[in-house]
């Protein structure tokens, strides 16, 4: 018989073999300990369910065994004992439970369209406001209808006949207030459904803030030299039809630095840190529909001019809503140049699952103390938000310092 590794402690998924107390070929008694296993809760002895001979051990010491996997096989001699069919029942149940979870997910999706999910208080409100809940799309978890959904849909919605699936009896719909429901708002306002790009942005940024530990490191770079360099290179670029921006220089500099700062080009996947060996640098584009973030694939291998050209191309197509989905996927680091509009330091939100985002502030002339004298230089404000789960403050500061160095002494 196969002995499957059971769920030893109310929901564990795996255990580590600490020690085998028997070896292959050993005779064991019923309930004799066969091995010690360490779970995240305890170190426990696993006893043999039957008397017999250990035929095979499937895992070595220090190896991890998952619930439901065969741990060892036991040769019980002649006819299989009646209890045999019951072995590993927990393993079976656990597999079945996973399937239930899976099915449950799909059933729930289906249920959203066919069944109303709303708390009693919301149902009461719907009755009061004469709203047919079966016509309301829920914005809450699992499609639950919230009070706001009911209020939003009661405004300007003529009472509709109760559908057969309606959760409350018809008479209660009819007994509702009848006239226009009272709206508890202070003054005139527009109510616009949260949808499309706006809804995607809202989801994505909430996900970012809720699932990572974000901190922001700020610094400023004297880009006087860089602006001079740009003036020198601008003409050549223009002759090729390229608009050379400071952003292109910054992207080029960042792409070069990320290789020696792998934590800033990383993400967390389950229990793993993923350090990416590709450098797809996203650029936040402000469009009428909202923020879009296409990325420059393999920015580390592209020339300054190619980067500048690609920024323009992506930005234009973003504003025309002509980006392909893959152009917005698989980014590894993002830059946002809000300074072209205004502002100094910003606290950008990381574009998940990335580990950092660099915000560029305004570029402006400022007096600074340089070599003991006051000089007028061009300053660029830089803000780096990073996921502190992956990047510590020290490495973030080192990255920023090196970036400032690179921008202050441009070698492009």
């Amino acid at each position: 018989m196969d002995f499957k590794f059971p769920d030893l402690g109310e929901g564990i998924a795996e255990g580590k073999i600490v020690k085998w107390l028997v070896k292959e070929g050993d005779a064991v008694k019923k309930d004799q300990p066969v091995c010690q296993v360490e779970t995240d809760k305890a170190v426990v002895d696993i006893p043999s369910p039957q008397a017999g001979k250990i035929a095979k051990l499937f895992f070595k010491e220090d190896e991890t065994v998952h619930v439901g996997k065969v741990l060892f096989t036991l040769d019980t001699g002649d006819s299989p004992p009646p209890v045999d069919t019951n072995q590993g029942i927990v393993g079976q149940t656990s597999a079945a439970a996973q399937e239930i979870n899976f099915r449950r997910g799909s059933q729930q999706t289906a249920a959203i369209s066919s069944q109303v999910k709303a708390m009693p208080a919301v149902r009461k409100l719907a009755r009061d406001l004469n709203v047919d809940l079966s016509r309301v799309k829920g914005s809450g978890p699992d499609g639950r209808i919230t009070e706001d959904d009911v209020r939003a849909s009661s405004k300007g919605t003529a009472p509709v006949p109760s559908s057969p699936r309606s959760e409350f009896p018809k008479e209660s719909v009819q007994q509702a207030t009848g006239g226009q429901p009272a709206q508890k708002s202070y003054g005139p306002e527009d109510r616009v459904p949260l949808k499309g790009v706006r809804a995607a942005i809202a989801r994505n940024l909430m996900r970012s803030l809720q699932n990572s530990a974000q901190a922001t490191h700020c610094d400023r770079a004297d880009v006087t030299q860089l602006t001079l360099l740009r003036e020198a290179q601008k003409k050549e670029a223009e002759s090729q039809g390229i608009k050379l921006t400071v952003l292109a220089y910054v992207i080029k500099a960042v792409a070069g630095l990320l290789k020696s700062h792998p934590a800033l080009n990383a993400s967390i996947d389950g229990d793993n840190l993923v350090y990416k060996k590709y450098y797809n640098l996203g650029v936040a584009i402000d469009t009428d529909a909202g923020l879009l973030v296409p990325n420059i694939k393999g920015a580390d291998e592209k020339s300054l001019f190619d980067i500048a050209k690609e920024i323009k191309d992506l930005a234009d197509r973003a504003r025309d809503r002509k980006l392909k989905p893959e152009e917005m996927q698989h980014g590894t680091f993002t830059l946002t140049n809000v300074g072209s509009i205004g502002g100094t330091y910003v606290t950008p939100i990381i574009n998940p699952p990335e580990s950092a985002i660099l915000g560029l502030g305004r570029m402006q002339q400022e007096p600074v103390v340089k070599d003991g004298k006051i000089a007028i230089v061009t300053i660029l404000y830089l803000s780096l938000s990073y996921d502190h789960r992956i990047v510590d403050g020290g490495p973030a500061a080192r990255f920023m310092t090196e970036l400032v160095q690179a921008l202050e002494h441009p070698k492009f």
Binding site: D7, L8, G9, D31, N86, Q87, I89, G91
Partner: protein
């Protein structure tokens, strides 16, 4: 009168049978030899079942298990002091007591395999089902005993709970109610020193748990919970007080949980082996055996025969429980008055997935 003579506020604890199996003078006849033999047998059955159940959980044959070892004396002797008319409201670590009352081992295993049918016979035995949420059964016990009083019955109720439960609101509400209405209740606290990983010293700054009864206006008594004589005497007297209309008594049985809290924790992570070994010397089962051997009532041969018999009872109960398949309809059936469509669908799916194979 042991209850009056042992003041928990002075830290006095009733002990009759010491760890070496010596009986204190003047207590002969409290339990007759046959009584002690019977208690020893049921405590042994409970101890061996405990070992088996723990192994079965590690083999994936029980969902979870609540180890009993070390508390057999408190469980068995307290039930032994009652009549079959009295109600038992268990927590979950009184197996020896349930078995004395007549609970079938098969039912115990059914329950531990997640089959609610294992609790079906409990009410016939005047027992409520096991109560996992800590302390929630204490008001039930007081409620049952109040009903007994209102109906003019001569029976009483014993309700079990642990040291951890004394920090729950239900404990205090129930104790207060019992005191005010003089209900025929025995509040039986199994102080096994550990509420999962929380030691008794951090549970309350009261010197004893038994003294908490004082604040509610009825007596509390601290007894050696590993001593069947002490537990029996105190419970017998508390039951008499209750029957005479004198109201509740709280008994603190000072004992020790030798194993983990359940199968999901590791005591080595929160207590020392020295402490465990110290308590093993006070083991309640071997203490009774020593007593019996001193009186030439027991020997190795009898022990071997008893163990063989217990093993047979246990294996039969396990086999019966394991071949009992069922569909846990109750989960779906009793949530609403009528099963709504969503639950109906889930139930159908559940049946089709597990095909009645569930333990």
């Amino acid at each position: 009168m042991v209850i009056e003579n042992y003041d928990p506020l002075k830290g006095q604890m009733l002990q009759v049978l010491d760890a070496e199996g010596n009986l204190a003078q003047g207590f002969d006849g409290v339990l007759k030899n046959d009584d002690v033999l019977k208690l020893y047998q049921v405590m042994t059955l409970s101890r061996m079942t405990d070992k088996k159940a723990l192994a079965m959980q590690r083999q994936g044959r029980l969902i979870t298990y609540i180890p009993q070892s070390g508390q057999e004396a408190a469980a068995a002797a307290s039930v032994y002091a009652l009549t079959f008319e009295d109600w038992i409201v268990p927590a979950f670590r009184e197996m020896a007591g349930w078995l004395l009352r007549g609970a079938k081992l098969k039912d115990v295993f059914l329950y531990l395999r997640g089959n609610e049918q294992g609790s079906k016979n409990m009410p016939k035995l005047r027992m409520t089902p096991l109560c996992v949420p800590i302390g929630s059964q204490i008001p039930h016990g007081v409620g049952i005993s109040w009903a007994q009083k209102l109906k003019g019955e001569n029976s009483i109720t014993i309700v079990y709970f642990g040291d951890g439960a004394t920090s729950e609101g239900e404990f205090h509400e129930a104790m207060n109610f019992g005191g005010v209405f003089k209900t025929p209740t025995i509040f039986f606290c199994m102080n096994n020193q550990w509420a999962i990983s929380l030691p008794r010293s951090l549970q309350t700054s009261s010197k004893t748990l038994a003294q908490k009864a004082v604040a509610y206006g009825f007596p509390g008594v601290l007894v050696d919970g590993n001593d069947i004589f002490a537990v029996y005497l105190a419970t017998k007297e508390a039951a008499e007080r209750a029957r005479q209309g004198k109201g509740p008594t709280m008994i603190e049985a000072y004992t020790y949980r030798q194993g983990p809290h359940t199968t999901a924790d590791d005591p080595r992570k929160y207590r020392s082996t020295e402490e465990e070994e110290k308590w093993l010397c006070k083991d309640p089962v071997s203490r009774v055996r020593k007593f019996l051997e001193k009186r030439d009532l027991w020997d190795d041969k009898k022990q071997a025969a008893l163990e063989a018999e217990c093993d047979k009872i246990i294996e039969e109960a396990v086999a019966e429980a394991e071949k009992t398949s069922y569909i846990p309809e109750d989960i779906f059936k009793y949530h609403y008055a009528e099963m709504p469509q969503e639950l109906q669908e889930q139930f159908e799916y559940f049946k089709s997935t597990l095909g009645g194979q569930h333990g």
